[in-house]
């Protein structure tokens, strides 16, 4: 690109800048995304608006194109890195300004499985959407889930698996919660490449989330339902 073609972010109006930030996120241009975040903050945008309108909205486009086979894992990870860099600027400010908290979630990859790319994307998008996320990492036996649920008392339990050999472990976790009379205390969301809705139903989860954007929407819907149910009880 020649100097003449170079886009000066600070010279763009707000709408153009947000659009450009979506493009930069899509391309995984971390420095540009951070610069865009700083410009919007300087212009008086609230950290919450920068997060939702510039970063989360941009990452949602990335998620859709990943689902549709237009983008693949490396591109999504580069976009995620850019979003993370932008969020790092916003996080302390969000804490100060008291951004709305939608709910909380314990999330982890099941026992026997070390894959966490999808889980990490879900964690990041959930945080972006205003959830408090407690990520317990990979290779989690049921005890780890129980301990984290006890400690953090979230509305949502998220489980992830990439392997057909490890995904049945989700049922072990759900069955344990049933045995302990804790099942109905949580919304259980599951995800991972080999899963589908039928599997989620069979293991006793509340919903299957095919990607990070769907996970966020599903989480919001179920948390709203849970709050309504509790309010009317």
């Amino acid at each position: 690109m020649s100097d003449e073609d170079e886009i000066i972010l600070a010279e763009l109006n707000d709408d153009e800048l947000v659009q450009q930030m979506h493009d930069d996120l899509y391309e995984g241009l971390k420095e540009e995304v951070v610069e865009g975040v700083e410009i919007l903050l300087d212009r008086g945008w609230t950290p919450y608006d920068v997060l939702t309108k510039a970063l989360v909205a941009g990452m949602t486009i990335v998620g859709i194109d990943f689902r549709d086979g237009i983008l693949y894992v490396p591109e999504v990870l580069m976009a995620a890195n850019s979003m993370k860099a932008g969020m790092a600027v916003l996080k302390p400010l969000l804490a100060e300004t008291g951004a709305p908290k939608v709910g909380s979630m314990v999330i982890g990859t099941v026992k026997g499985d070390i894959h966490d790319i999808g889980k990490n994307l879900v964690s990041m998008m959930m945080e972006g959407a205003g959830f408090e996320v407690y990520d317990i990492g990979i290779n989690n036996p049921v005890e780890n889930y129980l301990e984290a649920l006890e400690e953090h008392k979230p509305e949502i339990l998220g489980m992830s698996a990439l392997l057909t050999t490890t995904m049945p472990y989700m049922k072990v976790v759900v069955d344990t919660l049933v045995e302990k009379g804790m099942r109905d205390d949580y919304i259980i969301l599951v995800g991972g490449a080999p899963l589908n809705e039928e599997f989620a139903e069979n293991v006793g989860a509340d919903a299957y989330c095919r990607d990070a954007a769907v996970a966020v929407e599903t989480a919001k819907e179920w948390v709203a339902k849970m709050h309504n149910r509790r309010a009317s009880a």
Binding site: P74, M78, I114
Partner: protein, 204 residues
């Protein structure tokens, strides 16, 4: 008599042809392959395979079609298609499993979760498939995100080849200094699969 056809992954095409020749099965079996790079994007396998199967059936040249894929990260989608079409595939989740043998692979998997596997093909093409395919050459910051939980590389060798051994060792280094093991497996269950495919054609 019409031959049978194996439609398989490009990553095992050379091995399929070697087994067919070594067993003198050229009259009974033909092989056609789909791109090995789909190892990185398993969502492309089923549409590509469907197209190949449809074309092979329409050609009327073959008695039976066999699928030279394991599950290969398709999460059971491949099996649902194969069942609907009345086809047969080689057993297992990955080529690693049918080369090592299902039980031996399960034991390797149990032994150390964070194990990355290579076959002859993957060792030979590691640079193109893994390093360039996952853009690790231009974006090394992705390495810990993709491979941060791996601790060991196991090279399942189909043939004795010191150059492939060297490449596999080098791959372990490139993935962040993983510990390295080499197991000579030969063609494992792939040999049985090819012979069964050939037998099916003789029976007709």
């Amino acid at each position: 008599m019409k031959p049978n056809l194996i439609i398989g992954c490009g990553a095992i095409a050379q091995e399929l042809v070697t087994i067919i020749k070594a067993n003198g099965l050229q009259e009974n079996l033909e092989v056609t392959a789909l791109p090995a790079i789909w190892h990185n994007t398993p969502q492309k396998i089923l549409p590509g395979l469907r197209e190949k199967v449809t074309a092979a059936k329409a050609s009327g040249k073959y008695q039976h079609i066999f699928i030279g894929y394991a599950d290969c990260g398709t999460g059971g989608q491949l099996d649902r298609y194969i069942e609907d079409e009345g086809l047969q595939r080689i057993a297992g989740d990955h080529c690693y499993a049918f080369y090592a043998g299902q039980d031996r692979f399960a034991a390797l998997f149990e032994e150390e979760l964070g194990t990355f596997y290579l076959t002859d093909y993957l060792a030979r093409h590691f640079e193109r498939l893994i390093i360039q395919g996952y853009k690790l050459d231009t974006n090394p910051e992705l390495l810990p995100m993709m491979f941060g939980h791996y601790t060991k590389l196991v090279y399942l060798a189909q043939v004795e080849d010191s150059e492939l051994d060297r490449l596999a060792r080098q791959a372990a280094e490139k993935l962040g200094g993983l510990s390295y093991e080499r197991h000579l497996t030969g063609y494992g269950e792939l040999g049985d699969f090819v012979r069964e495919a050939a037998e099916a054609s003789r029976e007709l």
